[in-house]
Symmetry: C2
Subunit: 172 residues, 2 copies
Amino acid sequence: MSVTPEPGSPISELFKEAFGHHPAGVAIITADSEEGPVGLTASSVTSISASPAILGFSLAAQRGSAVHVAEAETFLVHLLDAENVQLARTFATHGAPRFDESMNWETLPTGEPLLTDVRRVLRCRPLTKAQAGPALVFTAEVLEATRHDLSGTPLVYHRRTFHSLGEGTYVI
Amino acid sequence: MSVTPEPGSPISELFKEAFGHHPAGVAIITADSEEGPVGLTASSVTSISASPAILGFSLAAQRGSAVHVAEAETFLVHLLDAENVQLARTFATHGAPRFDESMNWETLPTGEPLLTDVRRVLRCRPLTKAQAGPALVFTAEVLEATRHDLSGTPLVYHRRTFHSLGEGTYVI
């Protein structure tokens, strides 16, 4: 049942469908920039190495906030729980109001904007950047755990929908 | 509540705890090698770009199978469903029997070992490799969808446990 690229079903469409069905955790990456605080929702954040502490993610470099995050010397990776789903939606929506008075955030002494409703936040600096097609692939060294609270309900993104990994989830 | 590295609580431990709470999809990457078919379970596979179709993942390079996957000219990325959880465990367990008669697999004409119980499989070739601490970070071009079946129940890895994203999951 191999499916090869065809005019009506190019590999890009198959790829999008396949990864649309692949569950992922959700994060928001924020940074300071010359235009003020910026941030974006990312489902590509993964652990690369614990010792030294290194994480990875990719950015679609053409997006506004992504350009600023890509240029930042340090940034904050917020690992989201289900309680943060509205933040996930806001930072995934082009033009949605961010870092205004309705949002709980503060500027750290080191300059990065911290979303204070998020329980686990890692302050990072870029280690490597690689171009891959139109995207930028980052690895980043974790400098400190700005927040570290393991309570909260896991948040999963799957088929363009946010899911809460709650009591109804079947552990197998 | 910033948590900085301390002797009793180094950043590596905080990092492991934080990512232990970050849900992830599960994949198995297989390749042919001079020692025969090899494979490993990975929770780091992410979509990087749909057009061109590029995915990313990282390997702890010191592991046996990872060395062979890292050297392969092409490999198969199997995106697992909950129905594949036993495969996920087998390929995450050092020394567990693999590619024997009890496992449903076949060799593709292109040489890679295909796990035929997995619904979505992408055949790939490496695009970039970057060293990040002790790990290797890969990007790979997707050559074809070897299998493409969107049925199946999503599989999520969280806190060292496999979860099925079933009907009981709360959509938010």
